[in-house]
């Protein structure tokens, strides 16, 4: 008898080879893969992230690699590595390059072998020609103190990428927890949380965020947290509705019977089944977060001058519109492309998770 069962299991295993577990999220990805515009948006986002991570390799006043004083140095690569948390304590640039007064551009002459970034200017490096038109030297021109605008644009991408990911991360956690609790527990919890969602939704985002920003130091981390704290309502509403729909199904009853606590049921059983429609909302939210950050920086409450961000690049272009109208092109196109990319991904995700839309292309 035991022999029998084991052979049955074996033949069963032989007949259906082990497949990857088909989670809802994986199914969503399979649908998404077929969506051409969605993939296009995704590739823009990945490119943007790549640019943000490798910003010092694209624009900077330190060489990527150079042979200087009989030794090889990699200052720009160290800059990239230093963005990884904790690595910054370990890694340091080799000797002359880390000194503040050291100008790599004049010190490393043409006779030394060196690989330079495409744009040989740092985001904060000033030059003598202010408000220059786009030229071969400065592809997008310079700002009022002669900083290279392309370098600033490239380094500004870091902020936009970070804001999208971090603030929507905060919003997603908050939204799932609050919306999930409302949907799962119902009753008074639901009534209270639903009221809270309604109240927060009443505040126009800029008014709410700005009223908070008056009280705290304007800085990128605060901006991300505040955007996250004000952007969770959409996700919470979705989660609540999904949990309400799912909680009466048999698998939840089974989980309850096997003794799972509410938190475990919510996170391990309900959330994986409710997650797929959330992805679209999160993608749209990221577009909004990028827009909000740029808007805040434009108003002077986000990233502080002279640190580059697309919002304050746009502001300085706006202020010099009479003299150097071309300044406005770079940050405008960058914001536009990013928002478009997130929207394309969001649309594709919504199509991929909506059975009604999937049936009728």
């Amino acid at each position: 008898m035991p022999n029998n069962t084991s052979s049955a299991v074996e033949t069963g295993a032989n007949r259906t080879p082990r497949r990857r577990r088909e989670t809802q999220t994986y199914r969503t990805w399979r649908q998404f893969r077929r969506h051409r515009t969605g993939l296009f948006g995704l590739s823009i986002i990945f490119t943007l992230m790549l640019i943000a991570v490798s910003a010092p390799l694209i624009a900077g006043n330190q060489p990527i690699a150079c042979h200087f004083d009989g030794q090889w140095h990699f200052p720009a690569l160290v800059d990239v590595a230093n963005k990884i948390p904790f690595l910054s304590f370990v890694l340091n640039k080799s000797k002359p390059f880390r000194f503040a007064g050291f100008d790599a551009k004049t010190a490393v002459g043409d006779d030394e072998s060196a690989i330079w970034p495409v744009v040989r200017y740092g985001p904060l490096e000033t030059t003598s020609d202010g408000l220059a038109r786009p030229s071969r030297e400065h592809w997008l021109g310079t700002d009022e103190v002669g900083r290279d605008l392309l370098a600033r644009l490239v380094h500004g991408a870091v902020v936009s990428v970070k804001v999208g990911v971090v603030s929507m991360g905060i919003a997603a956690v908050l939204g799932v927890l609050l919306g999930g609790a409302a949907g799962y527990f119902g009753g008074w919890t639901d009534a209270l949380i639903s009221r809270l969602i309604e109240v927060v939704m009443c505040f126009p985002v800029f008014f709410l965020i700005l009223s908070i920003m008056v009280w705290i130091e304007p800085d990128i981390n605060n901006v991300m947290v505040v955007i996250g704290l004000t952007r969770w309502t959409g996700i919470a509403r979705y989660t609540r509705a999904e949990f309400l729909r799912l909680k009466s199904q048999d698998f939840v009853a089974a989980a309850v019977v096997s003794g799972a606590g509410p938190l475990r049921i919510m996170l391990r059983h309900l959330l994986p089944n409710a997650m797929s429609p959330l992805w679209g909302t999160i993608a749209f939210g990221m577009a909004q977060a990028v827009l909000t950050e740029a808007g805040l920086s434009w108003l002077g409450f986000g990233v502080q001058w002279p640190e580059p961000s697309w919002g304050n690049l746009l502001r300085s272009a706006f202020e010099h519109r009479g003299v150097a109208p071309a300044m406005i092109a770079g940050p405008s196109v960058a914001i536009l492309l990013t928002v478009l990319a997130y929207n394309l991904v969001g649309d594709a995700l919504r199509d991929a998770t909506d059975p009604k839309r999937a049936a009728t292309p």
Binding site: R195, L196, E198, V199, V200, M201, C202, F203, P204, V205, F206, F207, L208, L210, S211, I212, M213, V214, W215, I216, E217, L291, A294, G295, W298, L299, G300, F301, L314, A317, F318, R321, G322, P325, I328, S332, I335, L336, V339, L340, N343
Partner: protein
Amino acid sequence: MTRYVVKRLLLAVPTLLGITIVTFAVVRLAPGDPAAMQLDGTPGGDSARLHEQLRAYWRLDQPLHRQYAGWLARLVTFDFGHSFVDHRPVWDKIAEKLPWTVGLAVASLGATLALAIPIGVIMAVRAGGWFDRITGVGLYAAFSVPNYVAAGALIAAVAVIPIDWLPISGAISDDYDGLSVGGRIADVVRHALLIGICYSYPALAYQARFVRNNMLETLRQDYVRTARANGLSRCRVIFRHAFRNTWVPLITLLGLTIPSVVSGSVILEVMFNWPGIGRLFYASIAQRDYPTVMALSVVSAVLVLLSTLAADIACARADPRIHDAQ
């Protein structure tokens, strides 16, 4: 219907209370010391005076719940206190700016609907045709251009090639008082044109696409085919039978997008120098005029609440099932 309206209004009361609590909590309990931040060179004088003003405004000698209750009691009578900057009553300052923002919002909403509905309907009726495809791509592109980016580009363009009849700053000309009534209206419309376009084109793009998708679904329904089979004219079927079913989701959508429209007013009004509450809010924040900041965040949230209410009631009127079910 009356019962539904009353019920909906009563339900708004806790939300209204919630709005005041959130505003109070945000402003009152946020970390950071306003008097200390005043030291970093912002206009408005020394920190000792601000401290004194804040003490008086908040009645800091009382416990927290009494502070809130006192503030709420004054709020109900539209007493928002006096501005720290020019010492005028805050409500007066807001009341003179409010019509500019509300007027612009209502006008652009009307224009948006007047354009979005026909465009969406034509797209749906001729789905897959050249108009549908070209407009579809165009609307998607328009929807993805953030309105302040477009506004910046427009303003820069007008800075390079000035158009004398198209001002880009302010709401009225210097000689406004000397103009005739017709001249005044024309003057305001001229000033409002560019900011109005920036205000409404994202909404237009979104709504037209929304109308198209909804209409597509409705046109596929059996009752539409029945109506056609009964010999009704195409136009009658589209507008009397099909489009009516798009009204309710459209109104719901409008209610949901109003907060973002009001929110966008801050940057646009600053850019175009439009004398509305968005610019007042920005100026108050820059000058750390706390009573005005608080009053405006309550007022903006109440505006949104009112328009959501209006949208709900309009929905109930358009679809009897909504208020019958309750």
